[in-house]
């Protein structure tokens, strides 16, 4: 394996960051964009070549991990080194492809989409920084190196969410995202310290060798801390909490919907396809350790993922802001990937590992497509609200098709990409845990429903005033259509990749596919879509729509109207009002409120103790002596 090309892959985006960041004004906006795009294109090609060389050689069907280069970077204490290096194995190669592909698409798309932006060069510099840090994270051979990449993606996400820094809501959202994820990162850091002190290394392969084998921890005599966990389990749980923060799992998800304040291509890159799956990647990276040393943590991970996925899907049904629908949908799909990994907690089921990575791969493609398309729609309509949209299918025929493909893919309709990965996850769930299987199936149905609600509201539902409002011709640029087209092809084809052959935990375990599970999955998806069709195909509340739809189809429309009412009553009054609204309320007031409360509490406390600082010198001395005395009493008593 050529280590130069592996170094170049992250180095090129970094070069873009430095060049555009320092000399953006000199280079000029146009050149800065082209430079960024060109560099990431080279990175993408290099990634492809690495994937090709890596998967070309197999050893009895397995692809052994390779470490092309590794050198000591920081050393502290005995035996604990921080190395800088690259690990090339199935999942890191896959992530390389995902990150560089989506990043390339976003770079191309932004050339047209962000055109005329004042800080265009800065935007490309930030994109470069993000891509570099994400690649650093992905290639990490050392858990500390991973943490560095982890924090850097956080910083670049902060910069990009707050890109429109003259908009207070964007600044607030950036800060919220940064603080919530940093809060989780602290757990990650403590987790790293615990796990590395038990495993005796920060090097990921060494850690896996020491802790990630059957019976590896038996001779360590870790003992149990609280509720029967070993300290290793606690450390691994902390690491997972770090991942949960980045991957927006309940209850650390509150930053993700707000993060939609950033430019839409950024949402596609960071908050849909790459950064938010870092948590999934993290658990996958350490999967052997979780599997053999802390299966109870994997079970917690599974429940956390499954709950998030259903929870987010229910909320997505009630949102009107199209980017927020997509944000909740991302949360829900990440929950899918997470619970799929967590299924290993039952009977050491390792199919979930492959399934999760597969879903990560396909999801990145179709979710990026959805976000980029949403961006085009938002530019055209000048609104994020789906109630302002409708009947756009005639004006934007190309967008209509690619959006439909993406919706079919995420809904899990064969033969689109999402079907294959989702089916694999549900199959694993069926084998491992019935309860999670049910949650997964429900989520699948809801996913189909809200995605088609979104699709129909944008492209069908002929609203009354839409004709007058948007009589201009939509601006269409090949720079925007090209990435959309490529991603659409990906969303159609990616499912046919024999993924399990390339990325698996153990080659000797065969995939099993249960026909009834497949049938249930498809049935749920189709019923979700049908429900959406009944409710949102046309705007039944508006008389003019009804009139225009009269004629030969009257009977059908009448029936639809009738069912619409029933479903409306059922969903609006019962599901939305009694279930979804309270959940949203809990989300807004209790989960969000808790974070608010802690902030308020510290402010309150600081106001209370302010009196201590009076400026009175005698009082200071008294405090000094009192403190000293107190320390004396405390120290004597031990």
């Amino acid at each position: 394996m050529n280590s130069l090309s592996i170094i170049l892959i992250p180095a090129l985006p970094l070069a873009v960051f430095v060049l555009n960041g320092l000399f953006g004004k000199v280079i000029g906006n146009k050149l800065a964009g082209i430079l960024g795009t060109l560099c990431i294109a080279i990175s993408f090609v290099l990634s492809l070549s690495i994937a090709y060389t890596f998967f070309a050689v197999s050893k009895d069907g397995a692809y052994p991990a390779q470490i092309p280069f590794k050198f000591d970077w920081l050393q502290f204490g005995k035996g604990i080194n921080v190395q800088l290096g690259a690990i090339i194995d199935g999942i890191s190669v896959m992530m390389l492809i995902v990150v560089t592909l989506i990043s390339l698409m976003v770079h191309i798309f932004s050339l047209s989409y962000m055109h005329g932006e004042k800080r265009f060069a800065t935007y490309y510099a930030f994109l470069g920084l993000f891509t570099f840090s994400m690649l650093l994270l992905v290639l990490s051979v050392n858990i500390f190196q991973m943490y560095m990449g982890w924090e850097l993606v956080g910083v670049s996400s902060f910069l990009l969410i707050g890109f429109y820094y003259d908009k207070p809501s964007a600044v607030a959202a950036a800060k919220k995202a940064f603080i919530v994820t940093r809060f989780a990162d602290m757990f990650f850091l403590v987790g790293i310290l615990i796990v590395s002190s038990i495993g005796g290394s920060l090097d990921i392969p060494t850690l896996i060798q020491n802790l990630g084998q059957a019976g590896a921890i038996d001779h360590l005599h870790l003992g149990t801390t609280f509720i029967g966990w070993s300290s290793l389990s606690t450390g691994l749980l902390f690491i997972f909490i770090g991942g949960a923060g980045k991957s927006a799992l309940f209850p650390l998800h509150i930053w993700l919907p707000d993060a939609m304040e950033g430019p839409t291509p950024v949402s596609a890159l960071i908050h849909a396809a790459t950064m938010v799956v870092a948590g999934v990647y993290l658990v996958a990276r350490l999967f052997p350790i979780y599997l053999f040393s802390a299966p109870e943590i994997l079970r917690i991970i599974a429940y956390a993922g499954a709950f998030t996925s259903l929870f987010a899907a229910i909320i997505a049904c009630t949102q009107f802001d199209i980017k927020r629908v997509l944000a909740y949908s991302t949360m829900s799909q990440i929950g899918y990937m997470i619970f799929s990994l967590g299924l290993g907690g039952w009977n050491q089921n390792v199919h979930g590992y492959t399934a999760s990575m597969f879903h990560l791969f396909t999801h990145a493609i179709f979710k990026a497509l959805l976000f980029l398309s949403a961006g085009v729609v938002i530019h055209y309509v000048h609104s994020n609200d789906m109630r302002d949209m409708g009947a756009l299918r005639k004006k934007m025929p190309f967008l209509n098709i690619v959006f439909l493909i993406a919706c079919l893919a995420i809904a899990g309709i064969p033969p689109f990409a999402g079907f294959f990965s989702k089916e694999m996850i549900l199959n694993t769930a069926w084998e491992a845990n019935g309860f999670i299987f049910i949650l997964g199936v429900l989520t699948a149905g809801l996913t189909a429903f809200y995605m088609f609600r979104l699709y129909l509201s944008i492209f069908w539902r002929d609203a009354i005033n839409s004709e007058d409002k948007h009589n201009s011709h939509p601006h269409s640029s090949w720079l925007e259509n090209l990435p959309l087209g490529i991603l659409a092809i990906g969303a159609m084809m990616a499912g046919f990749i024999p993924f399990a052959k390339f990325i698996n935990f153990d080659v000797h375990i065969d995939e099993t596919s249960n026909f009834s599970v497949t049938a249930i999955a498809i049935a749920m998806a189709i019923s979700g879509i049908l429900l959406a069709l009944f409710m949102y195909k046309s705007d039944s509340d508006r008389p003019r729509t009804m009139v225009s739809s009269l004629g030969s189809l009257y009977q059908i429309i009448y029936k639809k109207f009738y069912i619409d009412e029933v479903y409306l009553f059922f969903t609006k009054s019962i599901v939305f009002n009694s279930i979804a609204k309270p959940i949203q309320w809990i989300d807004k007031n209790i989960v969000d409120g808790f974070m608010q409360l802690t902030a308020n509490f510290s402010l309150f406390l600081s106001r209370k103790i302010r009196g201590m600082q009076s400026g009175n010198l005698q009082y200071y001395m008294m405090f000094f002596m009192a403190g000293l005395l107190l320390l004396f009493i405390l120290c004597i008593s031990i």
Partner: protein, 471 residues
């Protein structure tokens, strides 16, 4: 006294030489005009002072072990010299505006000399001489702005509190003498610490240091003095004075009180938790930048104590490393603040608004400083904090590490608030800001390099660790 003895004392002699030179200059120079040329000369001399530390490596003990010098001590002196040089450079804008500017440098360098003596001491008498030489002139510096009432008030507060804590320190030393019958550090190793008298001796000495380090509960003077003092004095107080105290405290703690660690671990843990928490809670609501930095420095001092607790080689290495980083991060913030104050005479947090637009260079320096102080990777501040936490973790102090980590998140909140203010729009009446003289700019460039590069030079930590010692 032969030549090798002089080489051991080279930095002290050199600083003393500068002092004599400045006195002579003051005698011959005219008193009616501002002496600009000499300031540049002082900066050069301070730079030579740093080079002196690196040049000749002759170590040894003098005066029967009362004065010690070894690689660690020379390193510590160099850290102080680097920090002082940066402060001298930053001060040049300010000192160019009044006539008695030489006095500022005179007192500053006298203080530095006191610190050097204090760090090198191997005997409590020498230590106390150094300690007082590093304390008394500070009060004069704090009240340097004679025209301002707040400055004079701060000076009075400083001298009274400083005297008060000195008394307590001295009492502690005499108790220790009572216990051991000697004042030499090396001989005190043999003391068998037991009972309440030992606890009292330790706590009195600890309180004396605690005052200089401004840790809770000995911190109350900090905010008032920091606010009243001229900025280039505040930066000296919060960075150099603290660092020097940490260095000698580490030596005394590990060498003299090494066998008494059950008690001091307890005392340090308590004060760590209180310093970090109270420093943070106060910093949250500050509107004055100097007070804000004062409370943030209380919290940072708490972190330094956290690093010390484990008492290992790694602990001292991480503390030295953290201080090296802290010098650059904090001086970057103070440097920007000094320039702002010099140009519009204000130092409230809101005066930073739109700084990025008004002067991108200063804006970026301030943002980097805040991120580094908050411990956000990849700035060096993160590495500093990481090693401190790591040293506490390595000996199993999970609870206070957890409290410290929680506090890091709170601190993130107020550091980011500053960052946000820097990027918001400037109000109309706020004018553009020039970056000040080239000396000041150069000092900020040094700081930026320090903030960015130190974390990535792994050998540096290795070197610090190599020079460290444990209990």
């Amino acid at each position: 006294m032969n030549i090798s003895d002089i080489l051991i004392l080279r930095q002290e002699f050199f600083l003393f030489g500068i002092l004599i030179l400045l006195l002579l200059y003051k005698l011959v120079a005219s008193n009616s005009s501002i002496n600009r040329g000499i300031i540049f000369g002082i900066n050069i001399l301070m730079a030579i002072n740093i080079i002196m530390g690196f040049l000749n490596t002759s170590y040894g003990n003098l005066f029967g072990g009362m004065f010690q010098s070894n690689a660690t001590i020379v390193l510590e002196k160099n850290l102080l010299a680097i920090g002082t040089l940066i402060i001298c450079m930053q001060a040049s804008d300010w000192t160019n505006t009044f006539k008695n500017n030489v006095e500022y440098y005179f007192i500053l360098i006298a203080t530095l000399l006191g610190m050097d003596i204090m760090i090198s001491s191997g005997h409590f008498t020498i230590f106390y001489i150094g300690f007082e030489l590093a304390s008394l002139p500070l009060a004069a510096l704090v009240s340097f702005n004679k025209a301002e009432k707040s400055s004079a008030e701060a000076g009075i507060k400083m001298i009274l509190m400083s005297g008060f804590s000195s008394c307590i320190l001295l009492f502690g030393i005499s108790l220790l003498y009572g216990l051991s019958g000697t004042l030499l550090f090396d001989k005190m190793v043999a003391i068998h610490f037991d009972g309440s008298l030992s606890v009292l001796a330790f706590l009195f000495i600890f309180a004396g240091f605690g005052f200089k380090l401004s840790i809770v509960p000995f911190h109350l003077w900090t905010a008032d003095v920091y606010e009243g003092a001229p900025i280039n004095v505040t930066s000296f107080l919060s960075v150099i004075s603290k660092s020097a105290t940490v260095f000698i405290f580490l030596t005394i703690l590990y060498k003299v009180f090494g066998s008494f660690n059950t008690t001091w671990i307890y005392a340090l843990s308590l004060t760590t938790v209180f310093s970090i928490t109270i420093g943070n809670l106060f910093a949250l609501r500050q509107t004055n930048l100097k007070r804000f930095l004062a409370f943030s420095s209380i919290a940072q001092a708490g972190f330094i104590l956290l690093g010390m607790i484990s008492g290992s080689n790694l602990a001292m290495g991480s503390v030295l490393y953290f201080i090296f980083i802290y010098i650059f991060s904090n001086l970057a913030a103070f440097g920007v603040l000094g320039i702002l104050h010099h140009q519009n005479g204000k130092d409230s947090i809101l005066d930073l608004s739109g700084l990025y637009k008004r002067n991108p260079f200063l804006g970026i320096v301030m943002v980097l400083a805040m991120l580094s102080l908050a411990g956000v990777p990849p700035t060096a501040g993160f590495f500093g904090k990481f090693f401190l936490l790591n040293s506490a973790m390595s000996k199993g102090y999970y609870l206070i590490t957890a409290i410290a980590v929680l506090n890091m998140i709170i601190s993130l909140y107020y550091y980011l608030r500053i960052v946000r203010i820097i990027f918001t729009d400037a109000t109309e009446e706020q004018s553009l800001i020039t970056a000040g003289s080239w000396l000041g700019k150069l000092s900020l460039v040094f700081c930026i390099i320090g903030i960015i590069a130190i974390g990535f030079i792994g050998d540096l930590f290795e070197y610090f660790n190599y020079l460290s010692f444990g209990i």
